[in-house]
């Protein structure tokens, strides 16, 4: 399974902070994102923002890394700490 996390404004928009998804249907970040956007409701819109950041196993990811069982993938808006 892949653990998927959402934070801040994105979590509020989706109304959920965590999902567990099958790794077979989500071989990489791009297909995971695509599958999430297919969920209907506000998902496509909320996940269409091209400023969204992605972290795989708690490291910011810019390409399209492949995923495997046990991976943790997080989607979140641009960070605003400091």
């Amino acid at each position: 399974m892949i653990k998927v996390l959402f934070f801040a404004k994105l979590r509020d928009q989706l109304g959920i902070s965590e999902l567990q998804l099958d790794s077979k249907n989500n071989p990489d970040v791009a297909s995971l994102l695509n599958n999430l956007q297919q969920r209907g409701g506000g998902w496509a819109g909320a996940l269409a923002d091209n400023k969204l950041m992605v972290a795989v196993n708690q490291t910011i990811s810019t390409g399209n890394p492949s995923l495997q069982d046990g991976d943790e993938v997080a989607f979140f808006p641009p960070v605003t700490g400091g």
Partner: protein
């Protein structure tokens, strides 16, 4: 030393820890505070959300990058999370070095990267009890360009 915590911090305590080595000639500190106004809107407080685990990992990596660029003697980073009131301390970055040049550059570098890479999010509230997520500032993303373009210059 990196800490993500809800408790407040004390500048003097951090400073005294930074200057322990007798070779320290320069200490630069940055403290970020909750302002009463952001982008023209009155602010009465804020909540800081974070991604537990990744915040510490991200800050550790940023400090490691900084240490590869500059010769520093000590570095301390504290970022608070949770509910904060007006004028509360949010973040502390302190750097001790032989000379001021490295201390200034390293401290500013860490803040610039923290602002754009470390997974913290601010939700501000106003006196009417409304709360809203703060948008990222374009100038923060631009600030990183300085370290990429002038890598050679800043290494001096």
């Amino acid at each position: 030393m990196i800490k993500v915590q809800s408790e407040d911090f004390n500048l003097q305590v951090e400073y005294d820890l930074l200057r322990q080595q007798s070779s320290v000639g320069a200490v630069v500190t940055f403290s970020g505070l909750v302002r009463d106004c952001n982008l023209g809107k009155k602010v009465s407080g804020l909540t800081l959300e974070h991604y537990p685990g990744m915040t510490e990992k991200s800050l550790t990596e940023i400090v490691e990058q900084a240490k590869q660029r500059w010769n520093i003697l000590a570095c301390r980073v504290i970022h608070r999370v949770g509910k904060l009131a007006l004028q509360d301390q949010i973040v502390f970055v302190g750097v001790a070095a032989l000379h001021r040049r490295e201390a200034f550059a390293c401290c500013e570098f860490i803040m610039d990267y923290l602002k754009t890479q470390a997974p913290f999010w601010k939700k501000e509230c106003n006196e009417q009890g409304e709360s809203y997520w703060v948008d990222a500032r374009e100038t923060d993303a631009q600030a990183l360009g300085k370290w990429r373009d002038n890598e050679a210059a800043h290494k001096k």
